[in-house]
């Protein structure tokens, strides 16, 4: 083991992944890529273990190894040639949900595969029942767009046009999809090139050995962190409020077993899988469990598959945490993931509250829309991400307006949004008193109001926390819920999707036709508070009042000012 080499190689590979991400950001077409950064770039070894990744979307980072492993199972290494690129999005083969398109490019050194450059990105338009991928009322995977099992989209450096034609014939925005998919390919091309340079510079065996040492090192560091947690079995539960098809909640139930330096997260007590699209694949549940634990341990541990070794997940087939074919599951990766991660954090908060966070808003809004732009006559589709309030922590307030922990996405600037899509953004404002009260309050949620400028825009949504509030910890209070409200042109009252359009769920619905002048208001939830609000530092509280985060009345009634 050469610690200097480990340090150099780790930072070099992470910066390669970062550079891949920058390429993706700079060349992609959809705002979900170039503004929101809903992608991940990584390097895997030939067994499919992740050896490095950059600071992009955690949901995809944790899900990547399972996709790589299923690809290698279906496409043995001896079937690869130099210059091949594999595309894979199949949720029923280790994937996360249909929009998450993953490219693998083998890294050949002297005629032998040493690893893979990997890029995963959320493609905004995937065909299926609604423009924008998130069909809140899907009841089958086939409603959720095109499934792509591992296929070689590029063979020996030559693009397989038949696959391209098949892919692009099944989506509403082929020009954009081509641009985004091409950007993902450009990223793996770059990663492969850089890794080859690294292999030739240091020697293939040295690199492989060092990568193994790095994974062992991360594993040791994780185990050392886990050892600090008292042994025991810690249960926790949370709810997904409904599935878009039936008006009833679905339970996520975990028992976290901590023994020595091992953790088993057993989700056997969770609800049977739903008819609607809130189901998680096993990849999502693994990723969510890793996500929770990586968030509660030392952030300086190099992020690779070694981190995952001390963690086992038990997620029985046919439940909301491991859906069986052919049920829908697009919301599993965005909404159920943070709910699963939240239960693991909540369970461990019993014993390590100082490392925990009360519930965050834990949704991404997932407001999707599409239509034909009156000015360009081109079909547009958008996956719009909104951010939430983080939960309070033992040492600090939750962050205001921050992406839920399964993503690390950016909101899209108003100026980019309006240039691209026929909406006008009327306002984007923090919600006073939305924060879960506590000794450390949560971050606040916000409201964003949109007015339709097109003759018609078709919208769908796949969100949560409209009925079940984010929980507090250690005496902290729940935070405010979210909502999506509509005011039709000429009307003067705000209604939810159930009231305005007769939808079963106000948070998960499909294909609502919005007309020119209609308004949509996205109300994003806050998080839960941490600790008794009466114990909040009075100086901070007075500052909250002056700054407009907490009303004078709430300061008096809830915080006892």
């Amino acid at each position: 083991m050469d610690p200097v080499m480990m340090k150099i190689l780790d930072s070099t590979m992470v910066s390669v992944c970062r550079e891949m991400g920058i390429t993706l950001m700079q060349t992609s077409y959809s705002t979900i890529f170039n503004e929101a950064l809903d992608f991940t770039c990584a390097i895997a070894n030939r067994d499919g273990d992740m050896i490095a990744c950059a600071e992009f979307c955690p949901a995809q980072i944790g899900g990547m190894p399972l996709m790589a492993k299923s690809m290698v199972k279906e496409m043995p290494l001896d079937q690869f040639d130099e210059g091949d690129i594999v595309l894979h999005n199949d949720p029923y083969r280790g994937g996360l949900h249909t929009p998450e398109h993953t490219f693998f490019k083998p890294i050949f050194v002297n005629g032998e595969i040493r690893g893979f450059a990997v890029s995963i990105g959320h493609i905004a338009e995937v065909g299926g029942m609604v423009p924008g991928g998130f069909c809140g009322e899907a009841t089958e995977i086939f409603h959720e767009g095109l499934r792509v099992p591992p296929v070689k989209i590029v063979s020996k450096g030559v693009h397989n046009k038949d696959i391209w034609r098949l892919l692009l014939a099944n989506v509403r925005t082929p020009r954009y999809n081509y641009g985004d998919l091409r950007a993902l390919i450009s990223a793996v091309d770059l990663g492969e090139r850089r890794m080859k340079e690294i292999y030739s510079k240091y020697g293939a065996d040295v690199v492989d050995q060092t990568c193994n040492d790095l994974m062992d090192y991360s594993e040791r560091r994780m185990r050392a962190e886990i050892s600090q947690i008292p042994d025991g079995i810690y249960p926790f539960e949370d709810l997904v409020e409904d599935d878009g098809i039936e008006d009833r909640p679905y339970k996520i139930s975990v028992e976290v077993h901590k023994t020595g330096d091992d953790i088993v997260a057993d989700f056997s007590g969770s609800a049977k899988q739903a008819k609607g699209p809130i189901n998680a694949t096993l990849g999502v549940t693994l990723s969510a469990t890793y996500n929770a634990l990586l968030h509660m341990t030392d952030p300086s541990i190099p992020k690779n598959s070694g981190c995952f070794r001390p963690i086992r997940v038990v997620a029985p087939a046919g439940t909301i945490v491991n859906v069986n074919y052919p049920a829908p599951e697009v919301g599993g990766n965005t909404e159920t993931h943070p709910r699963i991660a939240g239960t693991v954090i909540g369970a461990l908060a019993n014993v390590i509250p100082h490392l925990a966070m009360a519930a965050e808003g834990a949704t991404h809004g997932n407001f999707v829309f599409g239509g034909v732009h009156a000015a360009t006559k081109e079909f547009f589709a958008c996956y719009d991400i909104e951010v939430v309030g983080w939960g309070g922590r033992s040492f600090a307030d939750g962050n205001d307006a921050c992406d839920s922990i399964n993503g690390n996405c950016r909101v899209t600037p108003v100026e980019v949004f309006e240039v691209r899509y026929p909406w006008r953004v009327e306002d984007w404002v923090f919600r006073e008193d939305s924060a879960g009260a506590g000794k450390f309050r949560s971050g606040v949620g916000y409201t964003k109001t949109l007015t339709c400028l097109n003759d018609e825009i078709i919208i769908s949504q796949m969100t949560d926390r409209h009925k079940v509030a984010p929980w507090g910890l250690n005496g902290g209070l729940p935070g405010d819920k979210g909502a999506t409200l509509f005011m039709l042109s000429g009307a003067n009252e705000w209604l939810d999707a159930s009231q305005a359009y007769g939808k079963i769920s106000p948070s998960k619905y499909s294909n609502i036709s919005i007309r020119k002048g209609d308004r949509v208001r996205l109300v994003m939830p806050a998080g839960g508070g941490f600790g008794d609000p009466k114990e909040r530092d009075r100086e901070s509280l007075r500052e909250d009042v002056v700054e407009g985060y907490v009303s004078a009345k709430a300061a008096q009634d809830i915080y006892g000012l």
């Binding site: 200097v4 150099i8 930072s11 070099t12 992470v14 910066s15 550079e19 950001m25 700079q26 060349t27 077409y29 503004e35 950064l37 600071e55 992009f56 979307c57 955690p58 081509y178 641009g179 091409r182 390919i185 450009s186 770059l190 090139r193 510079k201 996500n291 990586l294 968030h295 509660m296 952030p299 992020k303 490392l355 966070m357 991400i385 951010v387 600090a396 962050n399 205001d400 307006a401 921050c402 922990i405 996405c409 950016r410 909101v411 600037p413 108003v414 100026e415 980019v416 309006e418 240039v419 006008r424 953004v425 009327e426 306002d427 984007w428 923090f430 971050g443 916000y446 109001t449 700054e547």
Partner: protein, 677 residues
């Protein structure tokens, strides 16, 4: 003919370089900075010049804007924006610094939410007026701001103002009438580019430092006038170019990294002179250390500077990474009993203990004295009184707490400081995908040459260079630079539909504006004009920058441009999309007024080593080792010395470690490498 003078006002020292354009002679000197009124230190230093009226141009680098931002010591700012959007500076972009860090705390903007105000105006996405600005509402807001009395500067940022500045310009006019004592920054003048948060953050930074920079520059300007130097003094901007005091005070955000750019400009010149294409600079002063890279002979520019993570300043500037650690960094013992160095610095006041100005805390400089790396008699060529006993006592105090020897403690202080520096090197090399082994470490600043040898070893950099006059190298860069103005505008045309007339008009306007701005500052010589355009495939959101030659957009020019874009995209990203529509987003103009540059003289050829001036005990690792002492001025081209050795010069001391060798090149720069290599 006359003198070009560079003055670098640092946290601890103010450095001076004068270049005689008639004789090519260079003189350097330095004195202690005067934090209370930095000008006193400048004036103090200038008294060393015999003929102030011989100064042709004096260029000043200052960290005043940098420090105000980094220490959050700027003004109470008001943010004025479009109705419905006052929370943009707080919402920011919603992502976070690290992907798995629940302890992360989002950065606070440079404005309080209670000072954010909205005006009922709105432009659409093409710059058309949806809701006109109401003058009365603006006046009412001015009255409110005046009545509240808390605000010292105002930042105005309306949605889509980069397409149509009319509303912002009008607000500025009205505020100038109603609030004549409060400066107003408008986003259109600071950063006329799309994306409202990044523009807000940059405009806020501009307003935040404006009162302070304005006051300070006005005072300096006045005092230079008193010296009859008015009109011949310029300040360094973050882009490495100079501009007038007035221009700098009007847009202080351009001064965010003023001081450190000198070292980078000088490094670029050195890289070309001695043909070492890849340099990583290590400019260690008393208060802070700056690192930057020269790759293939060119400095790097960035538009993604961040005050801290998530608070961008997006004006183009030289890419310099600054950490708050230097010779003055104070060593202390934390609650857990661990020795720590910095980030607190003794600066120029109280200064390190050895300066005898009342400082009692041990600093890195004190530790270097204890280790024999610095020598009390030689400090600043003997011009400064140094109290070696005070240094010893200061280190001894914490050595007692640590139950370690004084020298061991001093050595630990230096090693911990070095390790902090390695972090800064890593951030400009490894984190950007550069292998340290492809670089030379260029050590300058007062303390750089003391640490450069140990640092190159720690940072896996195979060789290091100590340039001539390392103590004043940044100031030296100031005499090597030009006046430069950058202008940028959003243009929004496509290869499918391109309005040549409108675009050509816009380009001419911009060129005229930039040329005037340079001329107004008194540069009358021939100007160089560089035109660049930002292009992307229609649908992408980030651009590639390509040069455009010629005053007009013509069929031939554009056809060539589109072809070059496809080629550039292929070269940069390994693919292009034939036939795809290309969008032109921004147009940038750089106007440069070149100024005469020093020609450096070469040394006579020599062999062997220069004459040894003595020996002294210097601590390396675990013990004192007998080390040879040399004078830098004695080196001839090609002469070399073996470590352990100390090489003295007036403003700095180079330490050569055991096992290493230092060799002088034709210009007198010292190259340090492992003896075996």
């Amino acid at each position: 003919m006359g003198y070009l003078v560079g003055v670098d006002i640092g946290g601890t020292f103010t450095d001076f370089v004068s270049f005689d354009t008639a004789t090519n002679e260079i003189e350097v000197w330095k004195n202690l900075s005067t934090p209370g009124d930095p000008f006193d230190g400048v004036l103090d230093g200038l008294t060393k010049m015999e003929h102030l009226d011989g100064i042709q141009r004096l260029r000043l680098g200052t960290t005043i804007a940098t420090n105000a931002i980094l220490q959050r010591a700027g003004a109470n700012v008001a943010y004025v924006t479009t109705k419905g959007f006052r929370d943009i500076p707080f919402i920011q972009r919603g992502n976070r610094k690290a992907h798995y860090d629940m302890t992360w705390i989002k950065a606070k903007p440079l404005v309080k939410r209670r000072h954010c105000y909205e005006l009922d105006e709105r432009l659409d996405a093409k710059g058309g007026v949806l809701k006109a600005l109401d003058d009365n509402e603006v006046r009412a807001l001015a009255a409110k701001i005046k009545a509240e009395g808390a605000v010292e500067a105002i930042a105005v940022n309306f949605l889509f103002s980069y397409l149509n500045p009319a509303h912002e310009v009008r607000v500025k006019e009205i505020f100038a009438e109603e609030l004549p004592d409060i400066p107003t920054s408008i986003s259109y003048e600071v950063l006329p580019k799309w994306k409202e948060y990044e523009r807000a953050s940059t405009t806020l930074a501009d307003a935040y430092v404006k009162p302070l920079v304005g006051r300070s520059f006005a005072t300096m300007n006045k005092r230079f006038d008193e010296l009859a130097l008015g009109g011949r003094v310029a300040v360094m901007k973050s882009n490495g170019g100079e501009c007038s005091f007035d221009a700098a005070a009007a847009q202080p955000v351009q001064m965010t990294v003023s001081g450190p750019t000198g070292g980078v400009v000088a490094s670029r010149a050195l890289s070309k002179l001695i043909d070492v294409p890849n340099l990583v600079t290590f400019d260690m002063g008393g208060t802070s250390t700056d690192c930057a890279t020269i790759i293939n002979g060119e400095e790097n520019f960035t538009t993604s500077f961040e005050i801290e993570w998530g608070l961008p300043i997006q004006v183009p500037m030289i890419d310099v990474r600054t950490i708050g650690a230097g010779g003055g960094s104070i060593a202390w013992i934390d609650k857990g009993g661990l020795l720590q160095v910095g980030p607190q610095s003794a600066g120029a006041d109280p200064a390190p203990a050895c300066y005898g100005k009342g400082g009692i805390e041990p600093t890195v400089t004190d530790a270097n004295l204890v280790l024999g790396r610095l020598n009390a008699e030689e400090f600043l060529g003997g011009d400064m009184h140094i109290d070696a006993k005070a240094a010893h006592d200061a280190v001894k105090r914490i050595a007692g707490e640590l139950k370690m020897g004084v020298e061991e403690t001093a050595n630990a202080i230096v090693q911990i400081a070095n390790n902090n520096m390695v972090g800064a090197l890593r951030s400009v090399l490894l984190e950007r995908g550069h292998d340290p082994r492809d670089f030379s470490l260029l050590g300058f600043g007062g303390a750089g040459p003391l640490h450069v040898n140990e640092l190159m070893v720690l940072g896996n950099i195979p060789q290091s260079i100590v340039p001539i006059n390392p103590g004043q190298f940044s100031a030296f860069g100031f005499v090597m630079t030009d006046a430069r103005t950058d202008k940028q505008r959003t243009i929004q045309q496509t290869s499918a539909r391109f309005d040549q007339e409108v675009s050509t008009g816009l380009m001419s306007d911009l060129v005229e504006m930039a040329v005037n701005e340079v001329r107004e500052q008194g540069y009358s010589d021939e100007l160089e004009i560089y035109r660049t355009v930002d292009l992307r495939y229609l649908g992408q959101n980030y651009e590639l920058q390509l040069p455009y030659g010629g005053d007009d957009f013509t069929d031939a020019g554009l056809t060539d441009l589109w072809k070059r874009f496809h080629e550039a995209h292929q070269a940069r990203f390994n693919f292009h999309i034939p036939g795809e529509t290309i969008e032109m987003v921004n147009l940038s103009i750089a106007v440069v007024a070149p100024s005469p540059k020093p020609t450096l003289t070469t040394l006579a050829k020599g062999s062997g080593s220069p004459k040894k001036k003595g020996e002294r005990a210097v601590w390396f690792d675990k013990a004192f080792e007998k080390s040879s002492v040399y004078d830098r001025a004695d080196f001839l081209d090609g002469q070399q010395v073996d470590g352990p050795a100390i090489i003295r010069e007036s403003a700095s001391t180079t330490v050569v470690c055991p096992g290493y060798v230092a060799r002088a090149d034709a210009y007198g720069n010292l190259h340090i490498a492992n003896k075996r290599s």
